[in-house]
């Protein structure tokens, strides 16, 4: 009987140089504090000796071109490549020092996909899509020099309207929990991105966050109140810059009704950085 043995969510642009450039000294300081909290979360995850790590994140229009944008997609196969980008700008540059290849947990990925089809979750699949900073910055920050266990990357379309609903993402997490429970594996799950930034995906609004909105989300997660989170609308997420919270909704469905502990929350004018861990039974 398998079990979810670790659950955490965190911001995914984890690059002190980037935030130094765009926010000054406080940007570097906040990012380093967030990364330290995420590294400690990684130590606790590694201590579980989990068989696999599910990573729920979004594509920044890197892996999927405009010939297909899947609402939800499971990366299957035996290994996954880091995205490559010539003359990388902004958050793409954070990838450059990271390993290029990562093992996948093929059996768990296939089980989530195949049992999803049987249960009404028509998930997309990919054998080739590479992973960008949304997956690899948290995974590498958590592990440092320790070995990274086999991954199961899952993409949620957070940006290209129409996105899946918060409630549907939560339901995907519940599906994942059922698959893990029927499996022989102990599994960790992380969700990445956020908190609020880039409201309305508008260049003139770069630099705005919505701290009131973020604190509302945190309040509900700390209390294990997941129904109001499922009622979040696409419009609310778009206006607040909470697009990537859809990834967190998948994790919430997988661990509900567990309560969250905030390991880090720091306001920046560009983004509110956060790291959160759930108390699992």
């Amino acid at each position: 009987m398998g079990k979810i043995v670790f659950a955490g969510a965190m911001s995914h642009v984890l690059d002190p140089d980037y935030y130094q450039r765009v926010c000054g000294d406080v940007g570097r300081q906040n990012t380093e504090e967030a990364m330290a909290a995420i590294a400690k979360m990684g130590e606790r995850f590694s201590a579980t000796k989990a068989d696999a790590l599910i990573v729920v994140a979004d594509d920044h229009l890197n892996a999927f071109s405009f010939n297909c944008v899947p609402a939800m997609c499971v990366r299957i196969g035996r290994q996954v490549q880091r995205m490559s980008q010539d003359h990388a700008e902004a958050f793409d540059a954070v990838l450059e020092h990271m390993p290029t290849t990562y093992p996948l947990h093929e059996a768990l990925g296939n089980a989530i996909l195949e049992q999803g089809m049987a249960a009404g979750f028509d998930l997309a699949l990919s054998w080739e899509a590479p992973v960008d900073h949304a997956f690899l910055a948290p995974v590498n920050t958590m592990h440092g020099t320790r070995p990274i266990p086999p991954l199961v990357p899952i993409w949620v379309n957070c940006f290209v309207a129409p996105q899946p609903s918060a409630r549907r993402c939560f339901a995907l997490g519940q599906h994942i929990a059922r698959v893990v429970a029927k499996s022989p594996w102990n599994v960790g799950i992380i969700a990445t991105g956020g908190l609020s930034h880039f409201p309305e995906l508008s260049v003139p609004r770069i630099g705005e966050t919505d701290t009131v909105f973020d604190q509302k989300l945190i309040h509900w997660m700390e209390r294990g109140e997941h129904e109001p989170l499922q009622e979040l609308t696409a419009d609310e997420l778009h206006k607040s810059g909470g697009h990537e919270f859809l990834n967190w909704m998948v994790l919430l469905g997988a661990v509900t009704p567990a309560r969250a502990d905030v390991r880090y929350f720091g306001e920046l004018r560009r983004i509110n950085l956060a790291a959160v861990e759930w108390r699992l039974a």
């Binding site: 071109s65 980008q85 995906l201």
Partner: protein
């Protein structure tokens, strides 16, 4: 406004270094055959990423195209 035309062009500019080089050298010629509105074409020729974003170009593309990114 054609969300597909604008964003597929942005994607090509990010991922295809040879096309990006042609665009930087002569943007009007590089996009001459593409199905863009006059406003979209003018924004690309001016390399005005803010305007391209206003016309439907996705934020994560307009801030991450090498040599052309809006900041």
């Amino acid at each position: 406004m054609s969300r597909y035309a604008v964003n597929s062009l942005l994607y090509q500019l990010k991922k295809d270094p040879a096309f990006r080089s042609r665009f930087i050298k002569d943007p009007a010629a590089a996009i001459a055959d593409l199905d863009l509105t006059d406003a979209e074409r003018a924004a690309f020729v001016a390399r005005d990423m803010r305007k391209i974003n206003e016309l439907g170009g996705y934020l994560h593309l307009v801030i991450s195209i090498p040599s052309l990114a809006a900041h």
